[in-house]
């Protein structure tokens, strides 16, 4: 396919804020309770109720906005977005329309090829979530009824709207990954896309080369509510291909909302935008405008934690290879694990290597996370200390780590139980070395004639005899010594 168009993607990301209570009432905001158990007259939209703003939600929203380089408005207001749906108790959502909490931010993405690139954030606003419908029956089409669960109704959300600055599905993936990393360091949300605490809508359009009109005038397709970053990428990839083929065939792209089918990897039409709602926004008369003082905003800024860009820099300056640093940065739990381990153990690179190879492998295999790993940073450090002191070899340590994950026991305990301890007694090893050499005169000749591999074979033989407990570099040294001393002259 000829590349005579440019991909234009903008993302709208909804993030549920991790407050104890809902945005406008005192109900618990936590996920997973019995249906309708986290409700009260206010979030049920009973007659006569009024909203009362949760200041903690505003605090978390402002933290997010500042971390995303936004300007926080000293004066913003709430508006009603009106539509009828059973999951929306008041038949309007309290949101922010023309005076949002924050504007003009950015996120830097780092495509594999080339420089870092700033993706603009148009606005961030605060709003309440809707409830959930559980349809009875196999599919919506043949549902015999629907049950309304309003536990989620009124849970605070921020909507982060990017500029249409993304130029590929891969860039969308990078943006979301970075956005999620930043928000994870702020600890403002659970950020679980599968549970809906982070949701993404993608606007995709193709701009023909030479097009000079406004981006807004391009026919835009919105892919709604995709449940993972991977699927956002897949959905955009599919959509780009679909639209490109339509353009090639000379067809017009219809402005519409499309869903994403996980199983087929395709998007499908949901409704066309021509029949879209008029939400009849107007200022929420039940809430006074939100006025934030410059001093307060500044105090929130001062209290921001270290964010991914600063952390990347710090890691690289401590000698961590950029690729490894990237892995640590994008997983806040891994980074915190790393921080705790390196606080007690001075070799940063050794910690990194162990974490990103063996620890990561075991955590993945066992379905754990760094925060809840069976072997925490202290356990890893104890293991590394045993290697450092020469008590066990690196190879033995791998086996010990596995046992630690398996049993939850400490490194020292595992070593003792397994009767593992590295033989560092030179005399003991020397006698085994002499024994092995006697049995392999031909290999000695190979070595003496310059075959380095021959030495490795001999080391292996010694290790076998000691059941792996001999200190490898000592074995090496002794083999060389004995060969040179006892066999070189015989030649």
């Amino acid at each position: 396919m000829s590349r005579d168009y440019e991909v234009i993607v903008g993302l709208e990301v909804h993030v549920e804020l991790k407050t104890a209570t809902k945005l406008f009432c005192g109900c618990e905001a936590a996920f997973g309770a019995d249906p309708n158990s986290h409700t009260c007259p206010v979030c049920l939209g009973m007659p006569g109720v009024l909203p009362v703003l949760n200041r903690e939600a505003i605090h978390l929203a402002v933290r997010s906005a500042l971390a995303l380089n936004c300007e926080v408005r000293p004066f913003s207001k709430f508006d009603r977005k009106q539509y009828f749906y059973p999951d929306l108790p008041k038949a309007y959502q309290i949101s922010q329309f023309d005076e949002p909490l924050a504007e003009y931010g950015w996120v830097t993405i780092r495509p594999a090829s080339g420089e870092g690139r700033r993706i603009g954030i148009r606005r961030i606003h605060v709003e309440e979530d809707a409830g959930k419908l559980n349809h009875l029956g196999q599919r919506l089409g043949d549902a015999t009824g629907s049950l309304v669960d309003l536990n989620r109704a009124g849970v605070p959300l921020i909507e982060i709207v990017s500029e249409p600055d993304l130029r590929s599905a891969e860039e969308a993936r990078l943006y979301l990954t970075e956005l999620r990393a930043i928000l994870s360091y702020l600890d403002v949300s659970d950020l679980r896309m599968e549970e809906g605490s982070m949701r993404c809508d993608a606007n995709v359009s193709l701009r023909p080369v030479g097009y000079e009109g406004a981006l807004e005038d391009l026919s835009r397709v919105e892919i709604k509510n995709v449940n993972s970053i991977r699927n956002v990428q897949r959905g955009i990839e599919y959509e780009v291909e679909r639209q490109a083929e339509m353009l090639l065939r000379g067809e017009r792209i219809v402005k519409e909302t499309r869903g994403f089918d996980d199983a087929t990897g395709r998007t499908y039409s949901q409704r066309s935008k021509e029949e879209a709602n008029d939400y009849r926004y107007f200022p929420e008369p039940d809430l006074p405008p939100l006025v934030l003082s410059a001093e307060w905003i500044e105090s929130v800024r001062q209290a921001l934690p270290a964010l991914p860009d600063a952390i990347r820099e710090a890691l690289v300056s401590r000698g961590i290879p950029p690729k490894d640093a990237e892995v640590l940065v994008l997983d806040r739990e891994a980074y915190q694990y790393w921080l705790q381990a390196t606080e007690r153990f001075e070799d940063d690179r050794l910690v990194t290597n162990w974490m990103l190879s063996d620890v990561a492998r075991l955590i993945n295999a066992r379905g754990e996370s760094y925060a809840k790993a069976a072997v925490g940073p202290d356990g890893l450090v104890e293991l590394l200390e045993l290697i450092g002191s020469g008590k066990i070899s690196g190879r033995m340590a791998k086996e010990v780590l596995e046992a630690m994950f398996e049993t939850g026991k400490r490194a020292e305990e595992v070593v003792k139980e397994k009767g593992m301890s590295q033989i560092t007694d030179e005399g003991a090893i020397r006698s085994i070395v002499e024994e092995v050499l006697k049995q392999h005169p031909a290999v000695i000749q190979d070595y003496l004639s310059g075959k380095e591999k021959a030495l490795a074979f001999l080391v292996g033989q010694v290790m076998k005899q000691t059941r792996g407990q001999a200190k490898p570099d000592l074995v090496n040294q002794l083999l060389k010594d004995v060969i040179h001393h006892d066999y070189n002259t015989a030649q």
Binding site: P41, F84, P89, A91, D278, R280, D286
Partner: protein, 483 residues
């Protein structure tokens, strides 16, 4: 001693707190009165005789000291039926709420109960408080105690009629564009709309959120002061309720400059009303006050602005009555069908008219021309009052251009009905306090005098009006309920 039902709340409380009478006797007297007259008047939608008697016996168990500490101890109170209660049904005068029982009490209900009041029932209103005659109640119209062929005004017509007919000494109403003051005027009682934000709206079924205020309806100004004292104050459940405000202390000077807005005294005022108002103005002069003509130049635009802002907010506030969670639900059909049929069968014509008007005013393409323009007018009206109160202490006007009209006289002419609100809507648009007090009779029907004051001058306003009450002839008994 006069009949218990003829006494005002202040006197009842005093007698009860001194141990002279029992709360049970007070409640029984008023229940008897309701029994005797409400079939004629139709002021109540629900009377909780059993609950009121139980509460009365609770009050009777208190010591005299405890009775005295609670300012409404022993006093029966009726509530306009758009104020939600846990122990009595709430209808808002509409069919759409069905047999709705609120899971919580309105803040004013809590405050009344804490003050020892005895809730006796819920009063009739125009559906969702939309109307000026109480004819738009989905259940039955209420009749004026002075002349049962006439309306009591509205939308708090049930509360006004109940107080005027001595079925209860005190009732609460709500005022969005005059809904307390106009029926108070038509029924010859005192009705006060406090400064916006002074009384919590939590538990008041919203009509137009930026305009609604709950207020007292009583037969004396001292009763209004008593009830206002109990129900006002900041409420953590209402973000628009004013916090940390101190009511200004009015000047101790007993001679005020009283503004008479030119725009309120023009043509279109009933001659009888004019005569009564002129007499009241003379009395004010007699008290040494200076009357000055002032201008509130944007008054002419007030009705238009009001009838855009109030329906716009109402269209949104009434969207929740969708048949999904509570109240009436029409059966059959798909979701959209259920919504449409429920709302079609549940709402009356006046409510539908305003929901349509408001929905239109907020629609894409019309919002700027209608809603935004109306908000600009609102700002001008507020500025008019700001300016006026630079030079005068209070403003006095007729509450309505006319007296109570005959049932059905305006049913087919909504515009004429809307124009009747001309003198009252500006106080809501500006958020300032206003009250209507009986000034006399014109052709046997009560005429109300309206007082307006700067924001937060609520208590001062009550005091000012009371100085006039002292020198006016006491109102005679309403014709229909004399016996």
């Amino acid at each position: 001693m006069s009949e218990l039902w003829a006494m005002d709340a202040y006197a009842l409380h005093e007698q009860f707190a001194s141990g002279a009478i029992s709360a049970e006797a007070i409640v029984k007297a008023h229940l008897d009165r309701i029994q005797a007259w409400d079939s004629t008047i139709g002021a109540f939608l629900f009377v909780d005789a059993e609950g009121a008697l139980r509460r009365a016996r609770e009050e009777d168990a208190w010591t005299l000291d405890e009775r005295r500490r609670r300012p409404l101890s022993g006093v029966p109170v009726a509530l306009k039926d758009n104020i939600v209660t846990r122990h009595m049904p709430t209808t808002a005068g509409s069919k759409i709420l069905g047999a709705f029982l609120s899971p919580y009490d309105a803040t004013v209900v809590d405050k009344l109960m804490d003050a020892g009041a005895i809730l006796i029932g819920k009063t009739n209103l125009d559906e969702f408080a939309m109307g000026s005659s109480t004819e738009h109640s989905a259940f039955h119209p209420t009749r004026n105690p002075w002349d049962a062929t006439r309306v009591p005004g509205g939308s708090s017509g049930g509360s006004a009629a109940a107080v005027a007919a001595r079925m209860v000494p005190v009732a609460l109403g709500s005022d969005t564009g005059g809904s307390i003051r106009q029926p108070a005027s038509y029924c010859g009682v005192v009705g006060m709309k406090p400064t916006y934000g002074r009384v919590s709206r939590y538990g008041l079924i919203a009509f137009a959120s930026s305009l609604d205020q709950i207020g007292p309806m009583t037969r004396s100004l001292r009763d209004s002061r008593l009830v206002y004292g109990v129900i006002h104050g900041s409420d953590p459940h209402d973000s628009t309720s004013l916090t940390n405000v101190a009511e200004p202390i009015p000047s101790q000077e007993q001679r005020w400059r009283i503004g008479l807005p030119r725009e309120f005294f023009g043509d279109g005022m009933d001659d009888g009303v004019r005569r009564v108002i002129d007499q009241a103005l003379e009395s004010l002069q007699g008290l040494g006050h200076e009357l000055v003509e002032i201008s509130l130049p944007h008054t002419d635009y007030a009705i238009a602005a009001y009838y855009l802002i109030a329906p716009a907010e109402a269209s949104s506030n009434l969207s929740r009555y969708d048949g999904v969670r509570y109240g009436m639900r029409a059966s059959g059909g798909d979701l959209l069908n259920m919504y449409e049929t429920t709302r079609d069968e549940g709402f009356g014509d006046e409510v539908k008219r305003r929901v349509l008007l408001g929905t239109h005013a907020l629609s894409a393409g019309y919002y700027d021309a209608y809603y935004l323009t109306a908000q600009k007018v609102r700002t001008r009206i507020r500025e008019d009052f700001d300016q006026a109160f630079q030079t005068v202490d209070y403003i006095v006007t007729p509450t309505t251009p006319d007296t109570a009209f005959v049932l059905g006289a305006r049913s087919d002419d909504p515009i004429k009905m809307y124009l009747g609100d001309i003198f009252t809507v500006t106080a809501n648009l500006a958020g300032i306090p206003g009250l209507s007090m009986p000034a006399g009779l014109a052709a046997g029907l009560p005429v109300g005098l309206q007082w307006l004051a700067p924001p937060l001058f609520d208590a001062a306003l009550l005091d000012a009006a009371e100085t006039l009450e002292r020198v006016l002839q006491p109102m005679p008994w309403p014709e229909e309920v004399k016996a």
